[in-house]
């Protein structure tokens, strides 16, 4: 019926407007602070998406920071030590992160889901220690100073990453968009189904002839590649690559953003989670209260896990909101479809 399509349409329109707004934001403001906040959100969104993709296969990776760090260090070392421009380093970053994930994944997945978390945690520690200790290459804790991507000339229009934040902003927006599209396609396709099935009932899945290890490692690797890209770009954006950026807390942050955003959705959830938690930490960084940030973050994740129906997060409040607007009964999304 007509009312029905209108009911379906309105939420879509709102989402569309939001996306459009994101793309034309620099028209309204080119303030460095605002745009940097968005860059930060985008970076964390990608990290959280990677985490969620791994979580889809029923494993929790506590080492996502490893791949940000790998990405960052790869491109940083390529630029500082070998004097290469931005782009080759950028792509190498993804490749290196992917290869490491492949190698580690084969070991970690074999040891079962619980050991997997511990091993990824250990991996993150290993990477941090190497970064701190391997002074000649990583320049120790002082970190490597790196310059933003070289400016690109389009005709007589110059894209200069150094002087303004707008190129960085568009870079991250496009990176998020690509990642989101790919993950979304994975999620709705056969792979997504297989991932969920592996998570829900591995025994049955295995006896249906689905090779568990292959797909778990696949998810781990894909996530790592995109996290690596993001890390590489972020290092250039910050202008410095230092080990302190990639510790346990950062991995946990990726987890928290994923969970808060909503386990049910692979793409929208992480983005929402990243936006919310980053904005929050932004406010908290002003309060003269010490160590309030971990407290509140932990509390929020707990609240989401305890008081929202299992397998949902903030993103599902969106659906609930519309269902309330139209007096429907709330749609609880679920993990397998």
């Amino acid at each position: 019926m007509k009312f029905g399509n209108y009911r379906k349409l309105l939420p879509k329109i709102v989402v569309g407007l939001l996306i459009a707004l994101i793309f034309i934001l620099p028209v309204f403001t080119t303030s460095l602070v605002t745009l940097s906040k968005f860059v930060q959100i985008g970076f964390w969104a990608i990290a959280a998406m990677g985490f969620m993709l791994i979580m889809r296969t029923g494993q929790i990776s506590l080492g996502q920071a490893t791949f940000m760090g790998l990405g960052g260090y790869t491109s940083a070392v390529f630029m500082v030590k070998f004097g290469l421009p931005f782009w080759p380093g950028f792509f190498m970053a993804g490749i290196v992160a992917g290869l490491v994930a492949l190698a580690v994944g084969v070991v970690a997945v074999r040891a079962g889901p619980i050991a997997f978390s511990i091993i990824t945690l250990a991996l993150a520690e290993i990477m941090r220690i190497i970064a701190v200790s391997w002074e000649p290459v990583t320049n120790g804790s002082k970190g490597l100073v790196i310059t933003p991507p070289t400016h690109i000339m389009l005709g007589n229009f110059e894209i200069n990453f150094a002087t303004s934040a707008v190129p960085n902003y568009y870079f991250i927006v496009i990176l998020v968009a690509i990642t989101a599209l790919i993950f979304w396609q994975i999620d709705r396709g056969r792979l997504g189904g297989i991932f969920r099935v592996i998570a829900v009932n591995p025994t049955l899945a295995e006896h249906q002839g689905i090779p568990l290890t292959k797909f778990k490692v696949l998810a781990f690797t894909v996530a790592a590649v995109f996290t690596g890209f993001a890390g590489s770009f972020y290092a250039h954006f910050l202008g410095v690559m230092s080990p302190d950026m990639y510790g346990l807390w950062q991995s946990i942050q990726a987890l928290m953003m994923g969970i808060v955003g909503g386990i049910s959705s692979l793409v929208a959830g992480p983005i929402v989670g990243a936006a919310v938690l980053n904005s929050l930490s932004d406010i908290l960084s002003r309060l003269p209260v010490y160590s309030i940030k971990p407290t509140l973050f932990g509390a929020i994740v707990l609240l989401v896990l305890l008081f929202l129906p299992k397998g949902t997060g903030l993103i599902d409040l969106w659906r609930i909101f519309w269902s309330k607007v139209y007096k429907e009964k709330p749609i609880t999304t679920d993990n397998t479809h």
Binding site: M55, I60, I119, A122, F297, G298, V301, N335
Partner: protein, 288 residues
């Protein structure tokens, strides 16, 4: 052969890692999940004993028991109101891991806000040093070792000769079997959470005089306990103890030879072990 002082020191480390790992595995054997908040119970235990001794003036040995009780209670609350609620069939593992990891940081930050960030010390609990010629050991460290032995014996007795203990062991073998002893699995899991967390709390309490107390001391024992569990094999109590022993000695002897690279060596060893033997030393293989 490293000097005796190093070995003794390693032994002290292993005692703590043992106790932590033992508690975690105990919880795991019933609930089938790892409690990632365990390290913070260690930290909170240390704080409880600190305030019990300094503020309330309770003698040290008693305040260890007190902190055990308090943290045990806290653990039960966490088990009842957090873990049980998120441990849904199917994807419970994911939810519980996420929840306990979040709780971990909640406690760490909360302790920072409540108790302050700078180090606190308890040197005057069991001061003094026992001189053994070539090297010497402080009474505090001796206390740690004795305490751990007591705990282990106590746990052995509980697990083998009490109704609860037998129920725990039965349930660890076969979920449902606990009812044979007239204990519901739900209650059992709460009790086990209590015991495990009490162990962690007391470990923190007994260590409080040896190293200082601050909100961040929980992290290292947690990671070490996790590695100990991995080494020993997930779900095996013997494995937890042996893994803790190995790890403690390792973490004291290797720095003596390798200096600051030792942590790296530690992690790499664990991963190599996993490549060779994914189920750990005492664990049952994933694929039977």
């Amino acid at each position: 052969m490293p000097p005796a002082g190093i070995l003794v020191d390693g032994l002290v480390q292993s005692c703590i890692y043992m106790t932590m790992a033992f508690g975690m595995v105990l919880v795991f054997s019933i609930l089938g999940i790892l409690n990632w908040t365990h390290g913070q119970f260690y930290m909170l235990g240390a704080f409880v004993v600190y305030y019990a001794v300094t503020a309330a003036g309770i003698p040290f040995p008693i305040s260890i028991l007190i902190s055990g009780g308090v943290i045990g209670g806290l653990g039960m609350l966490v088990g009842r109101y957090v873990i049980e609620r998120v441990n849904v069939p199917g994807l419970g593992l994911l939810y519980v891991t996420a929840a306990t990891v979040a709780l971990n940081f909640f406690f760490e930050g909360g302790a920072g806000m409540a108790f302050g960030l700078e180090d606190k010390g308890l040197y005057n609990a069991l001061p003094g040093v026992l001189d053994l010629g070539s090297f010497s050991v402080s009474y505090q460290k001796i206390a740690v070792v004795i305490f751990t032995l007591v705990i282990m014996v106590a746990m052995y007795v509980v697990l083998n000769f009490t109704k609860i203990g037998l129920a725990i062991r039965a349930a660890a073998q076969e979920p449902g079997a606990a009812s044979l002893y007239g204990v519901s699995v739900g209650r059992l899991s709460i009790i086990v959470m209590g015991i495990g967390c009490a162990l962690a709390g007391m470990a923190g309490a007994i260590m409080a005089p040896v190293y200082g107390v601050n909100p961040f001391i929980g992290g290292l024992p947690l990671i070490m306990a996790l590695l100990a569990i991995i080494i020993g094999g997930i779900g095996s109590l013997t494995g937890a103890i042996v893994g803790g022993l190995i790890l403690g000695l390792f973490s004291s002897i290797v720095p003596y030879y390798l200096g600051y690279i030792s942590e790296l060596a530690l992690f790499l060893t664990v991963i190599t072990l996993l490549i060779v033997r994914p189920q750990g030393l005492f664990g049952v293989p994933i694929r039977r």
